[in-house]
Symmetry: C2
Subunit: 503 residues, 2 copies
């Protein structure tokens, strides 16, 4: 393919992309395929001879699209959002064309320099303390990582390196392996799995801290475990605070934790992967209060700031001599700051704030709908764009409801566990989600819930009359409690019947 053909095919692809996104609502949000579906649709080996572009393009709808989960459909409410915007896509086309590998200044000066300035722009949008910015001095400041997982690992490794040097300064005879074998890191029991993995990779103990009723780590909990661990001869060195946990978007109390970490010379890293983008709004910025105690801070503009994946932001305070810019796993890197530059300019700070506020508003709207239905409960404070909710009933009943929702393929959700309870997560994800989608999603969920309860009731009345007898002796007021009663009596036949029929 030469440049002339690329002009033609590229424009066709632009139209395909625009068509795909304009009509994404018409596609089923979650695919019907079974594991292994794709292998039989394409040859077992690469072709010897070149194929035509037409043949390849034809296969997008035949092979790929039937197996795509459409993350940018306004019916997608699973996981957390992943960012998606036209300006970011345009910038990514440019990034691909320049195709430089920015592993050093000389490898492409514009790549290194735009990144430094864009991360300062971002730091200023977040009103980070001055010593988190690069400015013209270049001591603090940020670097783009691929993901929050990498950022957490890098922060932990930097902290590990720092504590080893600190201890060896006083005890030159202590070996690195000996020191590392005594190190202990901490995170919330709500923290993302990548935090635990960072500990595994770094070869250090990682303890999960208990959280309070709001799923937040509090100062007292940390203080307690630090005393125990120091008494046991361990060396606490790293605390990974989460702002906006994956299960419920809970916030560790960094205004309490930060001063403890500072006093105890523990590196405090903040993982705000999802929530971080919201801090550009003054009304959400207080959630970041306490950042001034942190040693490093990370969030993913590729989640909620309209900058397509991958683009994770990590910055660290300038008082450290360690520069995180030398702490990266990959050496090569794309010219990712172009995406930030295009997005920040074409939305402007006000446009970005409006986007965050719209998503939070939609979550609040969904919360109101849930609260208005007596059969349901809200399982965690709705602070940003995530609503955790459930049937007032057993875990199995909620699991069945979720299976039916996802089996219906109209919308897509994933669950979480909160304090032992099976909870449904409704995350506002797509850029194009509007009030009508949220209303439609709720009416769909509500309808499936009614159906489920009706079936359960029929099932109970037909095949579990002995349990109904039991219920007459108890203050059972609704069918959910029937179901719970069934379960607590050890007879789970109704639920099991349902589960088998729904998979």
């Amino acid at each position: 393919m030469d440049a002339a053909e690329f002009r033609r095919r590229g424009k066709e692809m632009v139209d395909y992309v625009a068509d795909y996104l304009e009509n994404i609502e018409k596609r089923q949000v979650y695919p019907d395929v079974e594991p292994g579906y794709l292998r039989s649709l394409i040859p077992e080996e690469a072709p010897e001879e070149a194929e035509s572009y037409e043949d390849v393009v034809k296969d997008i709808e035949r092979v790929i699209m039937p197996g795509v989960t459409h993350w940018h459909s306004p019916y997608f409410y699973a996981y957390f959002p992943t960012a998606h915007s036209f300006p970011a896509m345009l910038a990514d086309m440019l990034c691909g064309a320049i195709g430089c590998i920015g592993f050093s200044w000389a490898a492409s000066p514009a790549c290194t320099e735009l990144e430094t300035v864009m991360l300062d722009w971002l730091g200023k949008m977040l009103k980070l303390p001055e010593d988190f910015l690069a400015g013209t001095e270049g001591r603090g400041g940020g670097v783009i990582q691929g993901t929050a997982s990498e950022a957490t690992l890098i922060a932990l490794l930097a902290a590990r390196s720092k504590i080893v040097k600190l201890i060896q300064a006083d005890h030159p005879d202590r070996s690195e392996t000996d020191i590392i074998s005594k190190l202990v890191a901490y995170s919330s029991d709500q923290a993302h799995s990548s935090v635990e993995r960072a500990g595994l990779i770094g070869g250090v103990r990682m303890k999960k801290m208990p959280t309070d009723s709001k799923f937040s780590v509090r100062g007292a909990a940390l203080q307690k475990v630090l005393e125990e661990d120091r008494a046991a001869g361990l060396i606490p060195f790293f605390f990974c605070a989460t702002l906006g946990t994956t299960p419920s978007c809970a916030f560790d109390c960094i205004t309490e934790l930060g001063p403890i970490c500072n006093a105890e010379k523990i590196w405090m890293h903040i993982d705000a992967a999802y929530a971080g983008s919201a801090f550009i709004c003054p009304e959400f910025r207080p959630l970041l209060n306490g950042v001034e105690f942190a040693d490093s801070f990370n969030f993913n503009p590729h989640k909620w700031l309209l900058v397509n994946f991958d683009c994770s932001f990590i910055c660290h305070i300038s008082s450290h001599l360690i520069s995180l810019q030398h702490w990266q796993i990959p050496l090569g890197r794309r010219f990712r700051s172009l995406k930030m530059w295009f997005v920040f300019r074409m939305y402007g700070l006000k446009g970005l704030q409006a986007y965050i506020r719209k998503h939070v508003g939609l979550a609040k709207e969904f919360e109101t709908l849930v609260r208005a239905d007596q059969r349901f409960e809200i399982s965690a404070d709705v602070v940003l764009g995530l609503v955790c909710f459930r049937f007032k009933g057993s875990n199995e009943l909620n699991e069945t409801l979720l299976k039916r929702i996802n089996r219906a393929r109209k919308i897509h959700l994933v669950p979480c566990q909160l304090a032992g309870k099976f909870v449904l997560r409704f995350a506002v994800c797509a850029r194009t989600t509007e009030s009508r989608h949220v209303q439609e999603a709720w009416s769909h969920i509500s309808h499936l819930a009614s159906e489920l309860l009706q079936e359960l009731k029929n099932d109970i009345s037909m095949s579990n009359r002995h349990l109904l007898r039991l219920s007459q002796n108890q203050p059972i007021v609704n069918v959910i409690q029937y179901a719970n009663a069934l379960e607590s009596q050890g007879s789970q036949s109704s639920i099991h019947t349902l589960r088998e029929s729904t998979g």
Copy 2:
């Protein structure tokens, strides 16, 4: 920006990209800017209000392009190539539009499944042993990583995990930290810096093995150090072999090393980041002989197989219970296999082989030009697309020549050190490099070399007559030897003068 505007802007961007690539030869390959050039060209903060797309696009030529090192210019011969093709760029546009995050099968089945099949296609192209393929059993097989750095780290961590389990099976009382403190990994003294870093991150000793006159690690060298280390109570567990080293594209002798590693239960990982792509050609496949002894194998299609960055291939043998698919640093991942699918189909195996052969042919052509010039020598076997060469003279003289080459901005090269010698690396990089560019590059280098030698001669004849006197007593036959004689006599004034004038 809505879809309608994206249609328009996207097509404009396609044209911009095509224009850029069609005319890339006219751009100076290496930029003129000084560090810090960019900050003053753009505002200190993100704009409050949205800007127009026109304003952003205008700044590409004003702000970005003056600071770009043009990796895809046919005058770029630095580092190693980074892949770049129109089919890969088209696929990447689609990847951005789908914008799924493929961290699990359900998160987007097509993303997981196409990746598995594409890596099998690739494994078959390379004629890897059957147990490196996923097939329908799914035990071996590959996964796309971002970079070779990540792949090496992952392999080392998997090996670390395996050895710890193995030892603990026999000695349940030995702690993980105790075992890790005794571990030792090995690589070539020519290995990439990321291998050493993998050891640092994994918290294990990493020893660099000496290489032979061809810059290859040999079996005897490994055998020797293993005996010493076992005698010292250490536990050898990992050997990272390099096929195609960064400095000179040398090949560790894996047919000797592999059997030793297997006998000693050492995980052998092969890093073939650059050279791996060439193994799709039958005539280069013998360089991979010995892979049957390896536990894992990695190379970067994003270097030399026309699949734009990032796309690094790692696979491992199916007899391991550890699945590397669970060993990734980032959780999120783009739909990167689309790029492989487009490229493999639109080039066909024959097209890809022709591309590799063309680059190797161009390197051989350059080698012939160098060998025909008595002033120069070839510093390492030219096996693939890299030529290491130098003046027959001092390191300083070669350093000066390289500075003049890069200062002239017509072509761009980087150096390496080989056995203490300063060597120039000429790597065939761009897809569009043709014979005429190589001829032009050599004639330019040759011209600068003549200029440099003439200046040196003038300098010597004018200001160092006392040394010329010395030369008359010695069998000095050319001006390079004059320069060497100057240096060996401790009078480096000529060279220093040159260095100051050229920076």
